[in-house]
């Protein structure tokens, strides 16, 4: 039997429309805006001024404090202004506007496609280089990678887990990356192993990507300590806690970190970015983005520079279909609906999903029939129906006691509910209130 996590989970229709599409390089836009907050943590500090000339790969905003990340210019040109602009969060936030001229790269960046295997860096050097390159978790959480690599005192990493699960329906960016950049991915994994000082790494991939499993398994034979684990398809297996449970059969304690049980997880996209940063001197300025949708002409996987407006991606994939009702940054289960298409691709954009109008509206809300399906699909063993009721009644003490903060917002409860109840909406509301209470208690 294939491994998977034990509690809860759902299996939405996979709809991996762009699965056979090779990665295509997208051209350059005329002007862009780069948000200075593309990661979890403190926004970066702009290092350029209006009128500055920048080259591709040049630092334009520096990480502000430990939990923050550098931002490098993905384009060459002139800084127009620093001003508020709509980003994928749906809010207007500080962004650096660049008027693009040409495509001049910093000379130290190795742009060739030669694979560079050898390295002799120490763990500290690797972490520093990753920090310098502004790498954040590319699976969507965008947590700065150097923070994850700095293991808290008293704990010890034992396993590196590379997340190639891509459990979100529709998305294929990680899949094509594993197929086309297999060798680089494994070198990146070795670099991360060195950074963490571990000698064991497992790449977890769901069984709906047999080609990627086969290819990586073959290449991994040449890499000491790296193995590939095929997993049964089940959402949300790409969640850190679920993936560790699937592979190591260990549970991250409630309120704890993966490293508490000896595991550190990075996305395949992050491992590839680490390879490029260290072996090719290339900071994080581009990523693979899936552009997809049932009515879209050419669902595709693009390699795009950060900051490229998503309408340019949609045009390249055949244009916005007429009856588009929803534009999502990310996958259908956890992605964010965007208010506009003139929004830049950010470090955490794994996909752009266009949903037709007829699938965009939620079904009508009906009374809870207490079928307990939400309880049975919750991968954290929570009771979504109860959390929703407590949140509606503002009973925050009980919400906390019922472990509301453990919720990973995977959406399985709202997805399964036969009465179409907005379970996750209310749970999020409750989480934010309980979070405030917890923070005020710490003060």
């Amino acid at each position: 039997m294939l491994k998977t996590f034990t509690r809860g989970g759902v299996h939405p229709a996979e709809n991996k429309l762009s699965v056979n599409q090779k990665i295509i390089d997208l051209g350059l836009p005329a002007s862009v805006s780069i948000p200075i907050s593309m990661h979890l943590g403190v926004p970066s500090k702009p290092m350029v001024e209006k009128g500055s000339e920048v080259e591709v790969g040049q630092l334009i905003a520096a990480g502000d404090g430990f939990v923050s990340a550098n931002i490098h210019s993905p384009f060459s040109g002139k800084i127009l202004k620093i001003d508020k602009y709509l980003d994928p969060s749906g809010y207007k936030r500080d962004s650096i506007f660049i008027d693009i001229e040409g495509d001049t790269w910093l000379p130290e960046i190795d742009r060739s496609s030669d694979i560079k295997k050898e390295f002799s860096y120490s763990a500290e050097e690797i972490i520093q280089k990753i920090k310098d390159a502004g790498i954040v978790g590319l699976g969507g959480a965008t947590f700065p990678s150097h923070v994850k690599l700095s293991i808290p005192r008293g704990r010890k990493a034992e396993y590196l887990i590379i997340n190639g699960v891509e459990c979100e329906p529709y998305l294929t960016a990680d899949h094509v990356l594993m197929l086309e950049k297999s060798e680089e991915l494994l070198i990146g994994t070795s670099l991360l192993m060195r950074g963490l000082k571990v000698d064991k790494a497992v790449i977890g991939i769901e069984n709906n990507k047999p080609d990627a499993i086969e290819k990586l398994q073959k290449i991994a034979l040449n890499y000491k300590g790296i193995s590939v684990q095929a997993l049964k398809v089940k959402y949300p297996q790409g969640g850190e806690k679920q993936l560790i449970k699937s592979i190591l059969n260990r549970e991250v304690p409630s309120g704890g970190l993966p490293v508490d049980i000896g595991a550190v997880v990075f996305n395949v996209g992050t491992a590839f970015a680490v390879y490029e940063a260290i072996q090719k001197n290339k900071p994080l300025i581009e990523r693979i983005v899936t552009v997809t949708g049932k009515k879209l002409k050419k669902p595709s996987n693009f390699r795009v520079r950060i900051g490229t407006p998503i309408n340019m991606l949609i045009e390249a994939a055949g244009g916005l279909p007429d009856n588009t009702g929803k534009v999502i940054n990310g996958g259908p289960m956890m992605g964010k609906a965007l208010p506009d298409t003139n929004i830049p691709v950010v470090k955490g954009s794994s996909g752009i999903l266009l949903i037709p109008a007829e699938e965009s509206k939620r079904k009508a809300v009906e009374p809870c029939i207490r079928c307990s399906k939400c309880v049975s699909v919750c991968p954290l063993g929570l009771e979504p129906y109860l959390l929703m009721a407590l949140s509606q009644k503002s009973l925050f003490d009980r919400l906390e006691a019922e472990h509301v903060m453990d919720c990973i917002e995977c959406g399985s409860c709202s997805y399964i509910c036969p009465s179409g109840r907005p379970l996750l909406d209310y749970i999020r509301l409750g989480k934010s209130e309980v979070g405030k209470i917890i923070r005020s208690r710490k003060k």
Partner: protein
């Protein structure tokens, strides 16, 4: 963008699951048992089922529309399921007006008084059934003798009605007859399994009910926890009694195949609204139903106890939901 797009929080897709699909799934699962009932009890099965369903839906409509003045939701199928299950818990020769009273009590008192679907603490069909059992004990316990399609609907005529196997057992034991002797007059286990016995119209067909359970499990409408815990508890409890004294106790299989046990375990106790929300809660609930059923059957005044057992355990459901929690992820640190 020159046109409006929808912006709403994730998830952006839905399973397509709906209340209607679940309710009509239960209806489909009950079809085999209905066919068996038709085969043994004839026209009465259709009359009782028809009257029960129509009056349940009608009462729900009238109460929603004219008394509560809320949205009419008879199309969700829940009133139909209540009607069907009420009918399955009645003898197939029950006078029409008693069925209508049962439907009124089920829907009116059992369900709508508490606010309708999702809010009632007790299984509505069983509330109706038990009300009728207490109010009309004679009509509710003179079951037609199964005599095929030609069985008339109103068959209170002598010779056409008789007690259930459990009734015969209870009466016989009261007079001190050993079980082995009683068994010679009772239907064989095979007859019990296919449904060739006296009883409420939907409870007799063990095989058909199990087929319905299989369907409910495959479609994931119910989970195994409740039916399996009830049946296992009954098997173990009656098994122990049988081993201790086979002269005064029937064998476990007899207990499982008679009365409303399978109907209750598969269709009545699993009612979403009135059963617990967590798997461990469901197991406790099931064990409770099994124990109370056998205590009533063996030591109580009634030959049959499934309805009472389910209603009693329904009362414990809020308590079970409050204190019996699912196993949380990361609760105990496991290093496997």
């Amino acid at each position: 963008m020159d046109k409006l797009i929808t912006v709403s929080p994730s998830p952006h897709i839905h399973s397509g699951q709906s209340v209607e699909k679940l309710m009509y799934g239960v209806v489909i699962a009950l079809v085999p048992a209905f066919i068996v009932s038709l085969f043994f009890y004839g026209i009465g099965a259709i009359v009782v089922t028809g009257i029960s369903i129509v009056s349940c839906i009608l009462f729900e409509y009238l109460i929603q529309k004219f008394i509560l003045k809320i949205e009419v939701r008879i199309a969700d199928g829940s009133a139909m399921v209540t009607g069907l299950l009420l009918a399955f818990n009645l003898p197939s020769n029950l006078p029409w007006w008693i069925i209508i009273i049962g439907a009124l009590v089920s829907i009116g008192i059992g369900k709508m008084t508490f606010g309708g679907l999702g809010n009632n603490p007790f299984n509505p069909a069983l509330v109706g059934r038990v009300f009728l059992l207490i109010s009309f004990p004679v009509q509710m316990t003179s079951y037609p003798v199964p005599s095929g399609m030609s069985t008339p609907y109103i068959s209170s005529i002598e010779g056409f009605t008789g007690p259930t196997p459990l009734g015969i057992l209870k009466e016989g034991l009261k007079q001190g007859t050993p079980v082995a002797e009683l068994m010679q007059d009772l239907p064989s286990h095979l007859d019990l399994f296919v449904g060739n016995m006296g009883g409420s119209m939907g409870e007799i067909a063990g095989a058909a009910l199990l087929l319905g359970m299989l369907y409910l499990l495959i479609r994931k409408i119910i989970t195994w926890h409740i039916p399996v815990s009830i049946i296992t508890t009954v098997f173990l409890f009656t098994g122990i009694l049988y081993l201790i004294n086979p002269v005064t106790n029937a064998d476990p299989l007899f207990h499982i195949l008679t009365g409303g046990l399978l109907l209750g375990a598969i269709f009545m106790a699993t009612d979403y609204v009135t059963s617990p929300m967590t798997p461990p809660g469901m197991l406790i609930y099931g064990v409770g139903i099994g124990l109370i059923t056998i205590i009533i059957r063996v030591y109580g005044a009634y030959p049959e106890g499934v309805s009472f057992a389910i209603l009693i355990m329904n009362g414990f459901v809020p308590l079970l939901n409050r204190y019996i929690k699912p196993k949380r992820f990361g609760e105990e640190v496991k290093n496997g």
